[in-house]
């Protein structure tokens, strides 16, 4: 009987018609599940690849456009990420790479029915945008997150040619803002807009064009305006779009005029479905009450550009009983976070940004106490980003014990290597408690004074940790070794200004093939070690990023400025700029 089961299962696999399997697979949407399905057997691999509609490429250099289009011929939706995360903080030199054009070009030929493109940290040229607009007749969704390299001319192409466009989301991209005319290129017959986010644009778009656009878009759910849209005009838009779910204001300031206020308040109260608000640049506090009527329905509030003080913030936030996500400046202070903890019992995500990150002395009264209060009062809190100027092990331990359900914990103590301000000890114990109690922790960013010990805790207890960010921490290679030899789930590791060198890296070289990427800058990894890694591990690209000239011109023991290692099936890059070097299998230095 036992020897028959294997033949039985093979028969079963073969006997299921492909259509049935395809239908079953269509319910499997998660990428990792899809990947697992494709590994079962050859026929499943074939069926799965023909019916995969959505692909996520976490690193644009891990795979080539050709490999993608050859394996998955029927893709409708693509998401691609380019530069490493530290590019957000200017650590990746200009011109490093991440150009999307080759992808668009390949997909233009292979996927004429492509509907969605989502890009993050990629260089997108106007030519790429124009190619998108003319290649995909059914194109619906364009999301450009932290991208750069394009101008409003490129947007004009998209506006003019994409008749089926539903989503245009430019979140935090750097756009060469030539003029606001591009918006007028949307044809009057186009009525399918669902989501528009132009918050990152500087120049003014034609307001009448915007008004007409909103008026003819009955499906509009998300509208995020840019700063240039004045407050007096908001009610025009809101009245025309009472079905809005997410709204981002422009500059929220105006002379105090009762008619403006009452128009605005009326318009807001008309939006009964409103769940998310953002924008709020240049806030005049007197106008805040205009949104009070929406507060009880709000689940998401982004006040991270709102330079209003704690009392106004408290008045606002304590009315938002259903709030799940709050982004705010440290003007909220400890006292405001106490109020938050008391009022917002459904809070899941909190981000507190620094209003004045470059001065030494605190300009506001925001300390570790605020975060502890929120961790106590908000049982569903799972994601934290917190900038502050002092922290203690006791506070971190309290947070860890209060919130074992934390999934993302990013703490930035503004001064590098700042110790526990009470005991002057390193913060090893505090972060150790975080990884010990928060067993579901997937993302962690460290700061403050840390020895190698914290990495021992992280390595052994951070079993589900997928992304780890380290800065100005550790004492020796032992620290890095703890992380690389532990952390079973680690995918992304980014390190800056730590005394980590060759030994840990070389001893754990195999680990690098199980991760998406490793970034190290201002550390002590020698060029010789990079060469060794590049030679021994052909499935990795070992990129040395060094603006001081060829590493061959210096001794091999000389540390490299920056190092970016990632696994790839696409081989070495062909588009490297002059300051990036990789090493061939024959140890030849390739530029």
């Amino acid at each position: 009987y036992l020897s028959n089961t294997s033949t039985l299962s093979t028969k079963m696999a073969k006997s299921f018609p492909e259509e049935v399997l395809e239908h079953v697979f269509s319910f499997i949407t998660s990428d990792s599940d899809r990947n697992a399905v494709s590994l079962v057997c050859k026929s499943w691999y074939e069926i799965e690849r023909w019916c995969r509609k959505r692909v996520f490429v976490g690193n644009c250099y891990a795979v080539s456009p050709r490999i993608l289009t050859r394996r998955f011929p029927e893709v409708r939706s693509v998401e691609i990420k380019g530069k490493p995360h530290f590019a957000d903080f200017n650590l990746v030199p200009e011109g490093w790479g991440g150009c999307v054009y080759p992808w668009i070009s390949a997909m233009a030929g292979a996927y004429p029915w492509l509907e969605e493109i989502r890009l993050k940290r990629m260089v997108v040229s106007d030519e790429a945008l124009e190619l998108i607009s003319t290649s995909f007749c059914n194109f619906k969704v364009l999301v450009l997150s932290s991208c750069e390299g394009f101008s409003t001319d490129g947007l004009a192409s998209i506006a003019a040619n994409c008749r089926e466009l539903r989503v245009l989301d430019l979140r935090e991209s750097e756009v060469d803002d030539l003029s606001g005319h591009w918006l007028s290129h949307f044809p009057d017959t186009w009525t399918s807009l669902v989501s528009l986010n132009i918050a990152c644009l500087g120049s003014e778009v034609s307001f009448s064009a915007l008004e007409r656009l909103v008026a003819r878009s009955p499906n509009l759910r998300t509208l995020r305006l840019n700063r240039a849209v004045s407050l007096e005009k908001l009610h025009n838009l809101l009245c025309r779009a009472p079905q809005l779910v997410e709204f981002g204001t422009g500059a929220y300031s105006s002379e105090l005029r009762p008619d403006v206020f009452s128009n605005l308040a009326g318009a807001f109260s008309g939006c009964k479905q409103l769940k998310g608000l953002s924008g709020f640049w240049d806030v005049v506090p007197a106008y805040l009450p205009a949104i009070y009527l929406t507060c009880s329905g709000l689940t998401s509030l982004n006040l991270s550009y709102a330079t209003i003080q704690s009392p106004d913030l408290v008045k606002l936030v304590s009315q938002c009983h259903n709030l799940q996500r709050l982004w705010v400046l440290d003007y909220i202070e400890d006292i405001g976070l106490d109020a938050l903890a008391a009022s917002c019992k459904h809070l899941q995500e909190l981000r507190v940004f620094p209003s004045d990150p470059y001065v030494v002395d605190p300009n506001v009264s925001l300390t570790e106490r605020g975060l502890v209060a929120v961790s106590e009062g908000c049982p569903k809190l799972q994601s934290v980003l917190y900038f502050c100027r002092q922290m203690s092990n006791a506070a971190l331990v309290a947070i860890a014990r209060n919130r074992p359900n934390l999934v993302c914990f990013r703490l930035c103590i503004i001064e590098p290597r700042a110790p526990d301000y009470l005991t002057l000890e390193p913060l090893d114990a505090g972060f150790g408690a975080i990884v010990e109690h928060c067993k579901e922790l997937r993302r962690l960013s460290l700061s403050g004074l840390l020895t190698d010990r914290v990495f021992e805790y992280i390595g052994t207890r951070g079993r589900k940790l997928e992304m780890l960010s380290i800065a100005f921490a550790g004492e020796s290679d032992l620290g890095l070794h703890h992380v690389l030899s532990g952390c079973e789930s680690l995918r992304k590791l980014e390190i800056r200004d730590c005394p980590f060198g060759d030994k840990a890296l070389l001893a754990n070289a195999a680990k690098l093939e199980t991760m998406r990427s490793l970034w190290m800058s201002s550390c002590s990894v020698s060029f010789g070690a990079c060469k060794l890694l590049g030679q021994k591990l052909p499935r990795l690209n070992v990129e040395v990023i060094d603006e001081r000239g060829s590493p061959d011109s210096r001794p091999e023991s000389c540390p490299v400025e920056k190092l970016y290692i990632y696994r790839t099936v696409a081989g070495p890059r062909v588009d490297m700029p002059p300051f990036v070097w990789t090493i061939d299998e024959d140890a030849a230095l390739r530029v």
């Binding site: 550009y305 001065v359 550390c523 002590s524």
Partner: protein, 318 residues
Amino acid sequence: MSMPFEEHDYIGLSETPAMENSEKLASKGLNLKATELRLGLPGSESPERGNGLGVLKGFISGAKRGFSDTINGDSGKWVFTGNGGSDVDLGKNGALFSPRSVNGSGSEGTSLKEVVPPSPKAVHEKKPQISAVNGHGVAPAAKAQVVGWPPIRSFRKNSMAVNPPKSDEDAKLGSGCLYVKVSMDGAPYLRKVDLKTYSSYMELSSALEKMFSCFTIGQCGAHGVPLRDGMSESRLMDLLHGSEYVLTYEDKDDDWMLVGDVPWEFKATWDIVCDYSSCLQAYKLDLHKSTVISGLHVWFLQPLEPWRRAETASSATV
């Protein structure tokens, strides 16, 4: 445009302290071919640990760079206490520069009020006890500003720079600009300069000289604007060429400070002049009335008081 933070590393530290360490490590003969990792007890990895932060301290305590180095003493226009008096003494009060009085003797009470934390990154000067912590030897950050730290996206930085909390519509906005008004007594209008486009006091003084020279050689007539009452053309010329003008500014404590005491690279100078959170926050002082008028720090070219004139004559200008 030059980036003063990276080029003028007056403390002498390289941009990446960690690299200095590793060069030292390399010179101790770490063999790259020996890839085995010794996993001894923490602390047994002595080379890295010992050098980790101690090296940095060594660099900092060795940095003594008087302001005199930054100023070319040839220009008779500049008055400052000549010698490099900015002793770096981390041990005592942790300040990277000690406050000096104008006449150099240290007896002047006014300047001692202002012990300003030098740079955003050199925070430990204010907490001297930290340097003795547990032997971990916290190294005061060497640079005025570290690239990419704190980790804030450019989009956010630019947005905040354009809209500081209490905004003043007058001054030009944008991250990377530090505009201040400069007024010369007797000149019919003020000028604005972006301090960040200059990399030394000399450059600034030349630029200001050019800007205000028109008022001294009768060109005000060309603008059609008369000089202020009580200030004749020749008097201005005398003042300018007679080296009796000094550049002063008013700091947070409302003290009149002589420009040039603090090394140019110390961006903290601009903290004093302009609240760092916005280049727009400051107080403008009208020399004639000595009252606060409105929101901008102003640098004034003002005539020397008699007691200072005597000082100039006797002290060395290098």
